[in-house]
Symmetry: C2
């Protein structure tokens, strides 16, 4: 359940991953990979899901705690979680009856640094 087919921004990229986005024109291939991640973030439901998952003290959260926060069917939530997982933003594991999700901080860190300008040593939001 954990293995995903999408490597998106793999650490094994040719030119040391990503030259910066705001400093060097992005290549087409990298643009395609990056776009998939941003697209995954481009939906209010998925943003809230990610936020709920990431902001848990314990580091993980059960699907059964996510679903009731939305006016959506369970299949729909499951679908959105799948997209976040395929984007490399989260991962999950089944433990007995329940499935737990957690954040993969490498990806959000990567995005943050890509969006950070050379001069601007971005600090966490207020």
């Amino acid at each position: 359940m954990s293995k995903q087919e999408l490597a998106v921004l793999g650490q094994d990229d040719a030119n040391g991953c990503c030259p910066g986005l705001l400093t060097t024109p992005l290549g087409e291939e990298q643009a395609v990979k990056l776009a998939k991640v941003f697209k995954a973030l481009g939906d209010p439901v998925r943003l809230r899901l990610l936020s709920m998952i990431a902001s848990r003290e314990s580091g993980e959260i059960c699907v059964c705690d996510l679903t009731p926060a939305f006016d959506l069917s369970q299949p729909t939530i499951s679908h959105h979680l799948k997209l976040l997982r395929q984007a490399g933003l989260i991962d999950c594991e089944r433990r007995g009856t329940w499935v737990y999700y957690w954040l993969l901080p490498e990806m959000t860190d990567k995005l943050a640094s890509l969006l950070t300008r050379p001069g601007q040593p971005a600090e966490a939001a207020s």
Copy 2:
């Protein structure tokens, strides 16, 4: 041409804008606003456009320099530029015959800080 209808993440938000995304569950309204920006980034063509605009020494670039970099019709490029503009990521101005675009760093800074974890003082990508 410069005025846009979308305030997205306005500085005049109620609770000081955005509580962090990775530290506090995102409210529905904020999620909707944020999603529009990420959705604008969720396309390879728009990512490359933004990258080309942002990485210009002069700080601005003419549409006539953007269009030939893509295998797309000029109206399509124009359409993507419009979406980036409505997302608050870029702005433009007509000077004589040509139209120039430039980055609005406030938005990318905002996104970077939203994706930055409390402990992690993100630095610009390599």
